[in-house]
Symmetry: D2
Subunit: 345 residues, 4 copies
Amino acid sequence: MIKAVIVGGTGYTGLELIRLLLGHPRVKLTAITSTTQAGKTVTDFFPSLNGKTDLSFEPFDCKRIADAAGLAFTALPHGASMDVVSQLVEAGLKVIDLSADFRLKNLADYNEWYGEHKSPELLEKAAYGLPELNGEEIKDASLVANPGCYPTSAILPLYPLLKDGVIDSKTVVINSASGLSGAGRVPASGNIFCEANENFKAYKVGEHRHTPEIESVLSAVAGDGFRVTFTPHLLPVNRGILSTITANLNKDISSGDVLSLLSEFYAQSPFVRICEQGTLPAISNVRGSNYCDIGASVDKRTGRLVVVSVIDNLIKGASGQAVQNMNVLYGFAEDEGLSQLPLNL
Amino acid sequence: MIKAVIVGGTGYTGLELIRLLLGHPRVKLTAITSTTQAGKTVTDFFPSLNGKTDLSFEPFDCKRIADAAGLAFTALPHGASMDVVSQLVEAGLKVIDLSADFRLKNLADYNEWYGEHKSPELLEKAAYGLPELNGEEIKDASLVANPGCYPTSAILPLYPLLKDGVIDSKTVVINSASGLSGAGRVPASGNIFCEANENFKAYKVGEHRHTPEIESVLSAVAGDGFRVTFTPHLLPVNRGILSTITANLNKDISSGDVLSLLSEFYAQSPFVRICEQGTLPAISNVRGSNYCDIGASVDKRTGRLVVVSVIDNLIKGASGQAVQNMNVLYGFAEDEGLSQLPLNL
Amino acid sequence: MIKAVIVGGTGYTGLELIRLLLGHPRVKLTAITSTTQAGKTVTDFFPSLNGKTDLSFEPFDCKRIADAAGLAFTALPHGASMDVVSQLVEAGLKVIDLSADFRLKNLADYNEWYGEHKSPELLEKAAYGLPELNGEEIKDASLVANPGCYPTSAILPLYPLLKDGVIDSKTVVINSASGLSGAGRVPASGNIFCEANENFKAYKVGEHRHTPEIESVLSAVAGDGFRVTFTPHLLPVNRGILSTITANLNKDISSGDVLSLLSEFYAQSPFVRICEQGTLPAISNVRGSNYCDIGASVDKRTGRLVVVSVIDNLIKGASGQAVQNMNVLYGFAEDEGLSQLPLNL
Amino acid sequence: MIKAVIVGGTGYTGLELIRLLLGHPRVKLTAITSTTQAGKTVTDFFPSLNGKTDLSFEPFDCKRIADAAGLAFTALPHGASMDVVSQLVEAGLKVIDLSADFRLKNLADYNEWYGEHKSPELLEKAAYGLPELNGEEIKDASLVANPGCYPTSAILPLYPLLKDGVIDSKTVVINSASGLSGAGRVPASGNIFCEANENFKAYKVGEHRHTPEIESVLSAVAGDGFRVTFTPHLLPVNRGILSTITANLNKDISSGDVLSLLSEFYAQSPFVRICEQGTLPAISNVRGSNYCDIGASVDKRTGRLVVVSVIDNLIKGASGQAVQNMNVLYGFAEDEGLSQLPLNL
């Protein structure tokens, strides 16, 4: 039984972390911090958890946190996270950071896309927390940078395909659609019900901050200077990301062979499921679970491959992946506490 | 480890049963029948379950079922269920029936509201499967009639209030709203997306078949001839039932005292949660869980009590309750395999 | 061609007013004010109106408004409206006020439910703007208090029934559900997408401010001291209100006779449609239109009447009714500029 | 005042045609046919139209139709339409066909994607009904093939860009998402509420029948053999299509210049609106209207252009465009009867 804390527990990723950790057999959640709700009981704020925890939100106090736990999940906005993470690491805690602050290895990239970094020395220490690709590094890390939601959905299908040279890395176009929980729990004109419901739109075309994360991780197999056109969309659902990825094929290959290649690559990964040929994933198939489902179809007429991947953005795209990283970090079974089947509807 | 089968596994309650039983530590699901999908693998039909079961749907064969398991969940339409249940009981299986066929003790009521009953001799054998009220009877039953979804949401709050004489039994008005999964998985003009989405309507006013079920169960505490006005509505969500119940108060009582009374009555019931005074339940608070949350507020100006209850219609309103009944039947902990926290969003 | 202005044009009722007035053949919209968006073009803020107006939002300036128009629609929050309305009336404009500030004739009621009133002298001058019941008074008014959305949906069906003594005024229970646009366009935790989507809940039980409005208007036919239990709910749709109203019948009457009575009462009202016997209204049937559809069903078993009414809360419940009031005020055909058929889906 | 009939009036495009034609000042709707609902009043089937028409559905009888009107809108499934259209044309009516039967000029294409064509002689007679590109031909046609919904959303933005050589025709990738009304009104597992709600998925990847329609119309400006990768998705909303189109730029051009080019091309088209630079269209901005809104953004990092277009699939993507074609055919103002502003929410 390890002890863990959540720093910044009032957002949707915070709620998911609480929910998953309360159900995890190897973890005791000992504290949850919040600047805005300090003093309030967690169940007053999240009545869905009634009867399951007596914790109250408390203000962040590094010393208290270090006394309370050996592991901290930080679920703060980017920019706000780096300072807190730096304190926690210094205090000797292992940290799984759900913000974007430690995902980019290259400081220049961070500066260009996010702004100034206050703890650049930690960048190289941080392991990129995609266990399917990076498990060995995560195991030994003291700081894990939990991947972005869109990058998780894009990197998992693209990595093996680029590695194997199946597709032309110069032609990768990624269209993604995310449910509104990705827009956070802070009221804003962009996430109010009537603006999003019965609506669909692209946003931040060519300038979404997850672009360099996708590119930098995949450049390991696609080569330096790898570039994608990434267009995110806002989908009127609570949960789920679907990415539709198009690229020119480098060789004459069937849909079945593409799927076999993916299946083989992820044979040991409990959370990646490859669809049967002729079927494609839907976000409902993974809702409430830590799965990433991937399908693929060769468009023979144009010589292109169309790959579709789905995740629950709050679970495999955030808090579930963080728990998976914890499992890797502590040597638990990779799916411990994450075995809920998708709710589907 | 007991062995269980599901008879009629392609509807939404079937899917939920499969999902819950696959995650239950004390049960092995050994067969699932379907008339329409026999021969198909379960995961072809329900891709959300990919990787979690190798079962295929098979045609119903009472002998094969009896060999495969000691317990059967029947998830068939009313009218179709009674014959199958009768065979299964005769073959010595314990049966938890999710249809309406054995919920009404009074044969005349069944005949009036549903039509002719082909196995009337089983009516008195069947235990009404609301464990919070009827646990002792369920324990020893060979046939459990799993309650309707609306009745579950109405009976749980009303039973203690009527028993205690808090409200006037002649003034009970129940308005309920159910998500579309309650309308089943068979395509029909009433459940197609564009007809239900962005819509809300009442249906079967004064003639919904759950009315006599509510009345007959509550007549135990409200007296013979107990009658309610029950108006169901169709809500554009996948899951959830909310019942808003109004009745005249028999005495001067505060909201807090009403809530205390409910809390006390359900002190030993792990799945009934009573809201704090000043708060009311929302269907999101129980989504994906077996909880029934209940809130209450006295309207002093009119001398009426307003009670609001919520359940997930597929779980506490159907398959979760069936699993809870199984737990009671076999002496497992009442919440075994049902401890998932609500998904909330 | 009359000239009209909108004071407070950035909310949803503001948007609907702009949309309806731009399409009205007898009105020229000459100015739209906004405190927060002053200086911005209307189409920058509402891109759906692109190409249809060159107006920019401007700060409120009573003199400028008086020069620009003879009629003002005020679409401000209650409390903020009374002061502006008072200035506009003094400046000689006719005013149709969409706030709650002038709906209650009784000052004590206003003080109790809303707080202090700064322009009590205008209360008796204001005509309650429900043209179906109050057309004669509206015709001659200089100030029209546009009704609340819930009251519109409740009063239209109840007025004739109470007037005729069909139902027992001591037993009226109103359950209403409103789409999220009723919660306004200002971001708040209550109207963010993931909190409202796939959710349903009651709110302000026994204390919603529309209660005294319903009671005071209906006391004209139900007698002084008329009281209702009114329970509003939040519905995960953009538009629409459905009210389910239950009351004991005073006499033995059939559903058909109730519907005939309603049909006769509203024979001259172009926007009230009475459903055929055996059918009930759905909010989709009136979406995007100024209709109020009403259905009714006698529950013989309990001696109660169940009445269901639906409106589009932004149109018949707000801006459409305001335009209808304008038509009455200026002697235009009552449905001029309001003849759009419901969008249905 | 011309007389028109609708052949096949019970689907969603049928309902929209009825709604639009009942509100059109120059048309009298004289008959509506239906095989399944013949004999039923239109308002019994579509209660949203209550009070606005006395018509009943009638069986198709070519002679009766020819007597009743000079213009027929055929809203039948592809395959079923060609025979009826052939009869109507022979009987001397002008026909606007909303099916796919006459959209492809090339018989071989039809045979490959749809199957055998029974009236191939009409293919060359039919004018492709996209008035923005083909107005002159439509004017003189006796048969207008109303475009598909996806093709309308893809062709309008792509035509000027390909004509002007702005983009490389070999790199066009189209991702589209459509609301569920595109799946029709006939109950099927694909359009039931719980399967589509809170879901998102791609379908018919590489094989959707709108692909050859897009390619054949655009080959006029992109050259023979023009090919696109077209991936449609199912969006959990009632109405709306959004297409996100990516292509390599042929030249160094700014977003502003792309938008200017589009604005100029559509300067005389009342229903095409080009977004301001830095803004992108959302389907809510055109809901309930005949508009097509188009935005564009150059992704400098990759040398690609991202274009986004939106339409209401039932209006500009079907029935509104059919009415627009009628206006062109009869020399009415192009926007007569189509001036409703978008409902937005």
